[in-house]
Symmetry: D2
């Protein structure tokens, strides 16, 4: 028996669930978890389910899914639950998001392979070493920005990377890159978007005298800080706190929020729905 | 077309979902929302789903469900979504939970009929009057406790009450009453259970110097403060705050937590699973 | 013996605290609580302290304070703690903020006199009646907006109102009015400012797919939604929730946040510091 | 000019603040921050203040403080703000609390010297190495428990340690040790005390079906899990989560709560007040 994760989305129509669950039942699979959502606004249907089934029935099931996919014009993905995805992490000088991600991997909370960590600075190299992950130092100047991006692309392709995580990378990726890996790049923005877009969000928040600050993880699109939001978290501040303290408090929730978003995306629980996300659980 | 809510639970076995969804599909129903959970510990399966269907197919669907129920030894309930349940509120002197429940009803957040409000004191009578709900004053002494409980039972039976809400009722109901309406009585306890059971939980919390206080809504069983927890919420306090302030801060979250639990139970989203609850969404 | 509340602010200089506390000591007063903050950015000093003292020493203390005020060019206010301030509430159709404020007053959490409630609609009249507070219905059209504002001003002046609370008033007050009562008008904005300014913030939040929504209480200035923030609170939402649900969830925190801000301002714990606030405790 | 931190507590009496602030003023010191609290229950007074002053006036100030201390029977401590305290960390196999503490030190949020990390297991050795902190491996058996405690005591005395932090140490210290370092040992308990004392709190929480779990940092006394609470934090869970997930979610807040408590204690913001704490800010 093997455990499978199915992820499916299409324009909402009657009978999608019964068709899929019947196919699984006919192939002697047993559904262990099912999440489903129909967006009345975008008229889109989203489904995630896990089931256990004898491997020998897989080809028969895939045959059923083929006709379902065609009939409903459905995006569908099926994977073995234990099979780890591959994730590339891009970071800069600040290590807190990287440390937290790697610690979550060590604890077993995030199940993933990390073939490489890339940075434009050397500061995080010892952290990568401690976790025995190859570290690539690609320093960036105005002149070599595109070449370095090409090197990152090479790493992605060579390693069959499923997910690219910007763990406070601080560099703006080219529109071409963003387009090519749309839905596969996760960023952590150090503000409660759309509150303080752009640079120095903690300074903006401090200047405005807000009483709560936040962090936002989102998919990267070519429009800066405008991609679909995956996860947000907030923390209370007051007049006593300096910008430096905002930054330090923020560091904690940036790390938490990014790790939470990464975990959910790796577990196939997040769908892009226009400029929003459907995030199960 | 009519919208239906189905709630089902049984011992976990393969094919439950596909059987139910296929029955709905065969009767031309369209599933609009589905939540499902299998408890690995208790080996119990829980399902809530909503679907729309032509009324003329209802008898055919019920016929299918009959055999499913028998086959899986399933507890199953089906109701029309718009059909309001009936709820009895018991309160004492403190009005904050009552006010919040009635305000949520007025806003449309809680959809329910309230045939009666019962209290052992007259303090809340004007609130009931403002919302045009019959108010019954059943004063309680050591001598008449059982007679008054009999009056409450009479109200419940006459009005076909589905849910009994203790909105800070401050009276301990008899084991017989608790047993008779098991799974139908919701209480709000003014502490973060199991933290401070029994009387004066805010005093207990203050004496212990805790930095966070809470409130807990739970189903009532004959064991005091030990029934399945539906919903909890917490709020931060500090050394500045007196017991009186603990009580006032607590009042806000008691009201919120009780209203949230009531809403979820009315919407058939809460299942009892041993001494825990499965609470969808 | 009488309890006093002192509130003082001025440009930061050495020896302010020792001068004030020595004056109180010399007049046999006993300090029971003291909060102090120096803003390094604006170079401003803020002090709130409570003390008990024999009334017969008051004139001597005021004499000392006179020279301190002149020396430090200080804004200073002294009041008897039990003496209630006067507050005017403006509301529109939605009652939830009004109900919560009046309930907090009833519980004793907010200690204040409310000489009048004003609304451009009649919906909240029964709530005012239930709490025995005079209700003034000033319907507003494009033509009579300024006359109605004049009526409000009259009520404020006649009743020596200290604080004007916009409990979801939904009307924009004139710049003249805002200027005249600067630092005395509190609004509740139904978003996590500066996130979604202007109209329909919940719709804006829903369209953007945020995972947390909020409410903000702030002092009103002539620039819409830009006044100093007093208090903010957030609540988690997800893709399941409609705009209507955002509005209902938001209602709870709007009421909480406004009541919290009102309480702090009435207790002299909030200072305006440029476009921010210093909010003690 | 030097910055000083003063911490004082005594039985509450009139004129404490004015006497202390006048002494500072007479020595040309300037108060930059002041927090004060009088506990009406225990009748105790607590004061923390920071001031800047020319070093040459220090002996004169200390002379004034001597008579104040005697007059009020006051516990008083004065230190130079930049002078770092010394902290010993005890840990076991689980590294998450240790990692977070060291990361906060690296970020500059916690300003402290750590002369040694002690553990009964070798798992955390590479983390200590990465941060260049001496690591002492003192394995513990039933037989050598007291000898190993003696080694820890030796480290404490040799290094003039101010604070001992149990970062998930998992060993019960002897009553003699607890007594000797009373008020100097901080523990993190992985539950929302007093909710689930003793072993396996997450299992206890899971069995009870709670909807929120927590972590508590407290001073260690010889009574297990009963010392004064410094800081608490909670996180929401639901029926989906296994005990293992409770443990992982808990790990995040344990780390946060312990680091927050350590920071506050190092900054002299926490006073013990009977079996509670007064924790400023």
């Amino acid at each position: 028996m093997e455990n499978y994760v199915l992820k499916a989305s299409c324009r909402d129509k009657p009978h999608i669930i019964s068709q899929i669950t019947a196919s699984i039942a006919q192939n002697e699979g047993n559904i262990t978890d099912l999440d489903q959502y129909s967006d009345k606004g975008t008229q889109h249907f989203f489904l995630r389910l896990t089931f256990s089934m004898d491997e020998k029935n897989l080809s028969s099931l895939l045959f059923s899914f083929k006709s379902i996919r065609e009939f409903f014009d459905m995006e569908i993905s099926l994977r073995i639950e234990n099979q780890k995805k591959k994730m590339l992490i891009l970071c800069s000088k600040q290590p807190h998001c990287l440390i937290h991600l790697l610690e979550k991997k060590r604890q077993g909370a995030i199940s993933v392979d990390i073939p490489a960590i890339v940075s434009n600075h050397k500061d995080c190299e010892p952290i990568a070493a401690y976790h025995h992950i190859p570290f690539h130092h690609f320093p960036i100047s105005k002149e070599n920005k595109m070449e370095q991006e090409a090197l990152i692309e090479e790493l992605i392709e060579q390693n069959h990377v499923d997910l690219i995580v910007l763990a406070r990378y601080m560099q703006i990726l080219s529109p071409t890159f963003c387009k090519k890996y749309e839905g596969k790049i996760i960023n952590i923005h150090h503000s409660f978007l759309p509150g303080f877009k752009g640079a120095n969000p903690y300074k903006q928040a401090h200047d405005r005298g807000v009483k709560i600050i936040g962090a936002t993880s989102h998919f990267v699109t070519s429009e800066l800080d405008e991609g679909p939001i995956i996860c947000q978290e907030t923390i209370r501040v007051n007049h006593h706190h300096s910008i430096e303290e905002f930054i330090r408090f923020g560091a904690d929730i940036e790390a938490l929020v990014l790790a939470r978003a990464v975990k959910h995306v790796l577990e196939d629980k997040v769908f892009i729905d226009g400029n929003k996300t459907v995030a199960f659980k």
